[in-house]
Symmetry: C2
Subunit: 337 residues, 2 copies
DNA sequence: CGCCGAGACTATATCGGTTAAGTCATCCGA
DNA sequence: TCGGATGACTTAACCGATATAGTCTCGGCG
C-alpha cells in the first residue's frame, strides 16, 4: 500500500506542495476555498505527514524519551511506572508525540543513551526520573541542551521544570496518624539510599519523629520483596521493636507483612504496616495494606504537559506539588498494650 | 551544542559526503586509507547519523512498535511486560532500533495507532501481543504491509513470524503433577476468554483432565486480584470443591491464596495453588506459590531478533516453542484425605 | 491612467542522509 | 602503445516535509 505524500495531494488539488503545506498547517498564503479543498482531499486520502520528513525539515523529532535504570527484576512488579507511562501518553497522543521507552543497566548506560538520542536527533525532550544524589545526568542534559522535565523535588532541578509530590508532607501525615493511634516506636524501610526522594523521606522521617517524640528506626531497602522481608525480620528482632513500619514501596510492604505473619506477629494488633505507593497489590493480601495513594497517571500527564511546553520553548508553568493521600486499610491499628 | 553532520566530516576529511557515507557504511568506493581517516574523524567528533535523515532517505524509521491494550490498572502489576520489554531492548539496542511503546484503550485504538504509525512512517515493524479470537489486527497489518512478529501460537499467525510458548504442553505437565500428588478435582481460573492463549489453555485443560480422569472446573477471570479472589471463593463454595486451582497469572493466584486462607482453607493441605506466570510476587507471600516459569526476557529477545530479520525482508528463522518450566514451591502438596 | 500594495500561489532552497551516474587517473593486456 | 577495465572519488538526484523569496493578478487610489 502506498502512503500519500504532500505531493500527491498537491497534484490532486492542482497546486504546489507549498500551498498544501500552508493549508494543512493553518498558515496564510492560501484562500479559504483552496484551503478547504486541500483539507478535504487530505482527509479523503488519509494523509498524515511523514514524521521523518518533518523531523528533518522542522528540526524536531516528534518524540520524548524515558529511561529507567533500575534492575528489570524489581521494576517489573512496580505498577508505578506503567501507570506513569499511561498517564504521559494520554497527553502525548494528542500532539502527537511518541514515547521512546528504554530500560538501562546503570547510569552510564542511561547517559550514553541520552547522548545517542541527542546525536541521532531522536528525541525532543527527556523525562528524568529517579533523581540521585550527585546525579551525573544533570550536567549531560544541560550540556546537550535537551529539554527536560524532572519527576522529583524541585530543590534539585536547577533550571529544569519539575513535577513532584510532597514527600515530606506525606511523611508527616503518616507519622501523625500512627502517633495518633498510640504508636511510640516506628520503623521505616526505605528505598535505594542513593535516590534523592529516599533521602527526602529519610530526613522528614527523622525530623518528624523528633518533633512528635517518637523513636524511629531506619533501614535501607532496594524495592525487592526479599530485602523487604529480611529487613522486617531484622526490625522485629530488636529488643525495642517497632509497633509500626513504613515501607517505601508496596512490594516491600507486602513482603514485610508476610514475613511478620510468618514469625508470628499479628497484623495490625502487634504490627501496623504502611506502604508508600498504593496499587492493586495492596488489596491483594490479608489484611489489605494501608497506603499512601498518589494519582500516578495524573502525575505522568502533568509531566507530559510540562515537557511539551518546554520543548516548544514556552515557559513551564511552575511546579506541581500534590500531597499523597493516606488510604486506610486493615494493616494499621492501635498497638496492643 | 552543535551536532556533527556528515558534511562536517566530509569537510574535515577533504572529501564529499558521498565518500563519507560509503566509508561509514562499509560500502565500496573509498580506499582503505581514506576510510580509516574518515572513521577516525567520525569517532573523534562523536558522529551519529541523524535518524530523521536516515529514515527519510532510507525509507526505514529505525523503530518498532509495541501496543498493549489491556487496562492499565491490571497491567501495572504484571511483571510480564516489563521483563518482555527489557528482553526486546537487549537485542534492539545493538542495531540500533528504538521501541515505541504505547498503552491503548481498546483494539480500535490500537488499530488506529498502527495506521497512524504507518502513515507517518514511524515504525518498521510491530510486535503483536495478546492474540484474540477473530482478531481484527491481522487484516490491518497485512493491508499495511507492516512487518510483524506475533507473540503467540503459530496456528493463528497466518504469514507472520511467531514466537511462542507451548501452553498445551505446560498444562499437561501441571495436571500430571497434580494428579500424581493425588488430586482428583481441579479448578482453573483463566484469563480473558477472548485471548487466544486463554482458549488454548482452556481446551488443553479440558482434554488433559478427560485423559487423566480428573474432574475439571473452569472460570474466566480478567487478571485482576479482585476477580481472582471472587472466583476462588466461588469454586471453594461448590459441593464438590476442587483440591487444587490453576490460575492464569500470578496476581490472581496470590489473590486466590489470600482469599482461600481468609475463608479458612489451609494451603496446601486443603487447597493447592499454581500460578501460570512466575514472578518475584510468587515468593512474596506465604506459602510461596508454585508457578510455571518462563524465560520472559529471552522470549522478548527472540521476538526482537525475528522482527529485525522480518523488517529487513530476510526469511524469519522458523518458530520457537519452549515449554514453561514448573517451579515447585510451598503452595502445592498432597490433598488431605 | 498608471503605480502601489496585497493576496494567492509558485519556485526553490534546505534539513542530512543514501545512491545512481559520471569523471578522472591508473594499470593491464594485446 | 592504445583501448578498456578498475578503483577512487565527485556530482547530483532523491526522500517529504517547511519556509523564504519571487511572480502574477487584481483592486484601489491619486
Amino acid at each position: 500500500m502506498k502512503r500519500p505524500t504532500i505531493d500527491d495531494i498537491a497534484r490532486r488539488a492542482n497546486v504546489t506542495k507549498a500551498a498544501v503545506s500552508f493549508a494543512l498547517n493553518g498558515n496564510p498564503g492560501v484562500s479559504a476555498g483552496t484551503r478547504e479543498r486541500i483539507l478535504a482531499i487530505a482527509k479523503d486520502v488519509g494523509y498524515q505527514p511523514s514524521s521523518a520528513a518533518r523531523a528533518l525539515s522542522g528540526g524536531r523529532a516528534g518524540a520524548f524519551g524515558l529511561v529507567i535504570d533500575r534492575p528489570a527484576r524489581s521494576l517489573g512488579i512496580e505498577p508505578f511506572f506503567m501507570e506513569l507511562i499511561s498517564g504521559m501518553q494520554s497527553e502525548l497522543a494528542r500532539v502527537p508525540i511518541s514515547l521512546l521507552f528504554t530500560l538501562a543497566e546503570d547510569q552510564s548506560d542511561e547517559i550514553a543513551l541520552y547522548r545517542a538520542w541527542w546525536a541521532q536527533r531522536r528525541v525532543d525532550g527527556i523525562f528524568l526520573v529517579d533523581v540521585r544524589r550527585a546525579d551525573r545526568r544533570w550536567a549531560v542534559l544541560e550540556e546537550l541542551g535537551l529539554p527536560t522535565v524532572v519527576l522529583g523535588n524541585p530543590r534539585d532541578t536547577r533550571d529544569f521544570a519539575a513535577v513532584w509530590h510532597d514527600d515530606a508532607a506525606a511523611m508527616r501525615t503518616v507519622l501523625e496518624y500512627l502517633a495518633g493511634l498510640g504508636h511510640k516506636r516506628i520503623g521505616r524501610i526505605g528505598g535505594l539510599p542513593a535516590l534523592r526522594h529516599t533521602q527526602i523521606r529519610n530526613s522528614a522521617f527523622r525530623s518528624v519523629c523528633r518533633r512528635l517524640g517518637l523513636t524511629g528506626t531506619m533501614r535501607s531497602g532496594d524495592y525487592t520483596g526479599e530485602r523487604g522481608a529480611v529487613l522486617t525480620r531484622e526490625l522485629l528482632a530488636e529488643s525495642a521493636r517497632p509497633t509500626a513500619i513504613i515501607y517505601d514501596n508496596d512490594v516491600m510492604a507486602i513482603a514485610g507483612l508476610t514475613a511478620a505473619q510468618q514469625v508470628g506477629f499479628s497484623v495490625p494488633s502487634e504490627l501496623s504496616i504502611v506502604a508508600w505507593d498504593d496499587s492493586p497489590l495492596c488489596e491483594l493480601v490479608h489484611p489489605a495494606v494501608t497506603a499512601l495513594h498518589r494519582d500516578v497517571p495524573g502525575y505522568g500527564a502533568h509531566a507530559a504537559r510540562q515537557l511539551i511546553a518546554a520543548s516548544q520553548g514556552k515557559p513551564t508553568s511552575g511546579e506541581y506539588a500534590e500531597e499523597p493521600e493516606l488510604t486506610l486499610r486493615g494493616s494499621t491499628g492501635r498497638p496492643r498494650r
